[in-house]
Amino acid sequence: MLDLILSGDANFYAIVRLSLFVTFSATVIAALIGMPMGAFVALNRFPGRDALIVVLNGFMGLPPVVAGLAVFLLLSRSGPLGPLGLLFTPLAMIIVQAVLITPIIAALTRQVVEDLWAEYREELLAMGVGPADRVGTLLWDARFSLVTILLAGFGRAAAEVGAVIIVGGNIDGFTRVMTTTIALETSKGNLPLAVGLGLVLIVLVMIVNALAWGVRRWSERHAG
């Protein structure tokens, strides 16, 4: 298994590249949707707000296979978005991962922003900060917590197997990622290879976390 990595096996690196690409994209999309959503819910009062918060929190526990099935039915040629032909493509995998982690990011962002707003409320009101500016100010001040939230989302997305297989099809050379390869090799009885790939996956996720931590330390030094 080590020789796979060391020999620079093209197929192996293609799988790693695709895994990182899919998960990064999904995290970015989920953040662009989930963070403003979380901030909005944190800062505004509207009818049904409590129910929405309960739903958001609940969706953090959305069973991935259910998400996979829902997206599958949506993207299938026989489904409403069929004409787009997205099933069994990397984009489908990005979509399903984004669907899974957007609630996590939104719910956690909401909590962080709400706590921060409680702290900042009087000062910002005294400074005449309007509703539009509040979102930006709080999200920026919460940036370190937000990075942690992003990492949580990234980790969750990187770990996904079931939903990704359902909508991606685990197609060799096209939609096969690290987690689905591990599942496949396990089912082929190729346990040493599966374990090896698992370790590589963990190391990759650790590296991403280390990079994020490095960015944070640098940033703290420069702007507290």
Partner: protein, 238 residues
């Protein structure tokens, strides 16, 4: 564009504030107008902070009326509030002040920024993360943020309560400077000495009631109410 509207004078007319069953303030009638500093004096829990926030427009009375230059709501941006424990934005000292300028609609020019930092003695700390400042330095940053709004009135809530004497002197000097420049200063304190040093007028509160409202000399030498007398004598006002 310089905000030309004014919210002064601020008139309280039999104002009361209750939270649920608890009366925090009752029967407060007074006026804040342009002039030398007014100190709201009184023991802890007497309602000073609440009165200050009502004057700023951060709270609304449950009874009575407050008018701002005869209008029901404050409209000018030229008022500022310095909290007892000021909240530092997670950015540099300079960026904190720049933020205040931006929110007040004041042009963020380099000379103006530098001038404000100079005024509070924080010029050397411009690029330091604001959260790394000491208590006294943070209080001075809060003052710089307040001054960034080019205020006609500044409210200060126990500005030196958690500071050592050296830091306290620094802050008091800045306050005196602000007052001399024509800005109306309204500040709360429970520190008798500070009141003596800074007050031109004293508003004395005890247990949510406005007990006395008089020029400083008159108040310190001739307190009329029992509560004021006991407070000045150093007794607990229960």
């Amino acid at each position: 564009m310089r905000d030309l509207t004014s919210d002064l004078p601020i008139r309280f007319d039999d104002v009361a504030l209750a939270v649920g069953e608890t009366r925090i303030l009752s029967g407060v009638t007074l006026t804040f107008a342009i002039g030398p500093p007014t100190v709201l004096l009184g023991p802890n829990g007497s309602g000073k902070t609440t009165l200050l926030k009502l004057a700023m427009g951060l709270l609304e009375p449950t009874q009575g009326r407050i008018t701002f230059a005869q209008r029901p709501r404050p409209t000018s941006r030229r008022r500022a509030f310095v909290f007892q424990k000021p909240m530092m934005l997670r950015r540099t000292v300079a960026k904190n002040v720049a933020y205040s300028l931006k929110m007040a609609g004041v042009p963020q020019t380099r000379p103006r920024l530098a001038g404000l930092l100079e005024q509070v003695g924080l010029a050397a700390f411009a690029d330091r993360p604001a959260r790394r400042l000491s208590g006294g330095e943070q209080q001075r940053l809060a003052l710089a943020r307040a001054l960034a709004r080019d205020p006609e009135i500044i409210f200060l809530d126990e500005p030196t309560a958690s500071l050592d004497p050296f830091a306290t002197k620094g802050v008091e000097d800045i306050i005196t400077g602000i007052a001399r420049a024509g800005v109306k200063v309204v500040m709360t304190t429970h520190d008798l000495g500070q009141a003596r040093r800074l007050a031109s007028d004293v508003v004395f509160l005890a247990k949510g009631r406005l007990c006395e409202n008089a020029p400083a000399d008159a108040f310190f030498n001739n307190p009329t109410t029992t509560e004021a007398q006991r407070f000045l004598a150093g007794d607990l006002v229960i």
